[in-house]
Amino acid sequence: MSADPSPPGAESALAARAASSKLNPNVQNHPDTQLEWEFRLTPLPAMPAMPAAGAPVSTETMVELRGVTKRFASVTAVDAVDLTIRKGEFLTLLGPSGCGKTTLLRLLAGFEIPTTGQILIEGQDVSNIPPYRRDVNQVFQSYAIFPHLTVEENIAFGLKMRHVPLAERCARVEEALALVSLAGLGKRRPHELSGGQRQRVALARALVCRPKVLLLDEPLSALDAKLRHDMQLELKQLQRQLGITFVFVTHDQEEALIMSDRIAVIHRGRIDQLGTATEIYHAPASAFTADFIGEANLLDGDIVSSNGVTALVRLDEGVEVTVRAAALRPGSTRALLSIRPEKIYITRTKPAKDNCFKGAIENEIFRGAMDELRIRVAHNLQLMAMVANESAHEHAWHKGDTVYCAIHTDDIVVVEQK
């Protein structure tokens, strides 16, 4: 093996640099980084004008799926999906394994042809166009770096296939290497790189083609937790800078919440809910979404009365809770409620609030930053609550303690009703 042992410090140094440039808001004015930033922001011919960082996503449509269905033998992987992806948007397809999110991505890439329905990119029907003629590039879950080529040759591959002249090719490869903080590593062989570096090569190789849409298939799943979080922020920032539409597939709900402009929650080949991270988290539209994103106490009950401002719901477990009347449709009689565990306030003395239940702590689970408490408030109703970890304090919660659970009316979300 050639000399450089690629010290583990090198990558963390890169990561640290990347992190510091993220954290320092003045970085754009720094003389050293000015150049780099300028060339990151150089308008590229094949790409739309780039919005400034933090600029709102445009309302123009980049990708449109119309009734797209994909069947494999007897299995329907994607079931009549309609979806509009905006120009410059970071859209995440989120769902458990086997939900069809990867098939959806493969349909966009052109590796699968829809059984029925249409896929339009910038208004052009690409449903039957093979992957090598689509202005779409993918970052593969396994990275799929060509082992027989150097880092540079890997990144130049797409440009070579598109007959980009040598001089421009070299310049763009250098630019791409700098973009993903791998400048100077172009001559390396893939097996000489760490997992995180390989991931960056895969990203550079796709971005250098200046795709209209960049597809990312769980690209961070193989990285360790710390590096992964750094990469999440970095990817997000990169996407903002370049203004390229990103379609990101993940099963990790936290990752989706951190990175996305909008999230499409996929369940059994359909879009269960489409919305921003906060919409999806705070106003889940189905039991599946409420349960899949974060954690939730899901409770069924009858709507007993309403005074126009608040309504009373009697849970099947016999407990009554007050919810916002505005959340209920007139005529509904049943409701499914969701209460986030961190929205339950635990006190030792009875607070003067609407929704307040006395209970006993049945279990206390240490989860690092948070403590998870299981509190029995009725003989068949146990609530899950999250409190900041206090186990080191003398007022810590203990198993068997009698406590009060208080929930603000606004924090009880009506997920479904009929």
Partner: protein, 294 residues
């Protein structure tokens, strides 16, 4: 290549015990090689510098004359022809065997096993029997000839038996599986996302094949080339039977020296030269193969 080895060496000293066991496990093979490869080769090497008397007995008076004789145009011509036939056989095997090996390697497991089985079935029948079958197929009044004449694709009887065409045909038939198997192994290991990545980056099917699939299956190609080229250059049975001893290859000459001609020292010199050529070819190809794997 050095990378993985270096990394295992850096790990703990617990490597020492397995090393002893490793040698013990290898011992039968090493003894076998010593007794039946190294020793005979050494004897052959010594013989190649000896002379023979009128009765064909080996006389231990040393000379370089046997090697000088190889430079005779007759033998150089046979060497050249052997190289040419072996190269042609290898090229044909590669062209025919690559698609087959690749297809089997990319097939779903059930079909893969079936295809491999089908490919192995002919091996259950004796090699000589199969070669004689070819002879009866190819002869002037044979099946192929009558078929072609019946279809009016051929005016007179087929006249390829006992010609170089028949020899190369026989060689390709004999060694094709040795090309298919290593290519199959390489193709099977090929990560499908590599192909998808090539397509995704704008390579059409042809360029995905030449730029990604071929380089990544290179180890299989090299192994196959080696496994076909080396034995086919020394083949004498097919040349004897299907070439009717009219187009001798180097294998036939060597066989003849140890047989009818009773000139063991010259046969040994031919054998050693042959071995040296293989060693060089192997070293060359193996180096390239290693490069492909990186």
């Amino acid at each position: 290549m050095a990378a993985p080895r270096a990394s295992t060496d850096t790990s703990s000293g617990a490597k020492r015990a397995p090393r002893t066991i490793g040698w013990l496990l290898l011992a039968p093979l090493l003894l076998w090689l010593l007794a039946f490869v190294v020793a005979p080769t050494a004897i052959l090497f010594v013989y190649s510098f000896c002379q023979r008397d009128e009765l064909g007995q080996v006389v231990f008076s040393f000379t370089g004359g046997n090697y000088a004789r190889i430079l005779d145009p007759v033998y150089l011509g046979i060497f050249g022809r052997s190289l040419w036939y072996a190269a042609l056989t290898t090229a044909l095997c590669l062209v025919i065997g690559y698609p087959v090996g690749y297809y089997i390697g990319r097939s779903p497991p059930a079909r893969r096993s079936l295809l491999l089985l089908l490919m192995m079935i002919p091996f259950w029948i004796s090699f000589l029997l199969r070669t004689y079958a070819w002879i009866s197929l190819l002869k002037g009044e044979g099946l192929v000839s009558s078929l072609l004449q019946g279809l009016h694709l051929l005016a007179g009887p087929l006249d390829i038996l006992y010609t170089p065409t028949a020899v190369v045909l026989g060689l390709v038939y004999t060694y094709l599986p040795f090309m298919i198997l290593p290519i199959f192994t390489s193709a099977e290991k090929l990560d499908h996302s590599m192909i998808e990545a090539a397509l995704d980056l704008g390579a059409g099917p042809v360029r995905a094949f030449t730029q990604v699939i071929i380089p990544l299956t290179k180890p299989g190609i090299f192994a196959g080339v080696l496994l076909v080229f080396v034995p086919s250059i020394g083949m004498f049975a097919v040349t004897d039977l299907m070439g009717g001893a009219k187009v001798p290859m180097i294998g036939n000459v060597i066989q003849n020296q140890f047989g009818q001609a009773r000139d063991w020292p010259f046969g040994a010199a031919l054998g050693i030269t042959f071995l040296a050529l293989f060693a060089v070819a192997f070293w060359f190809l193996h180096d390239r193969g290693a490069e492909g794997r990186r």
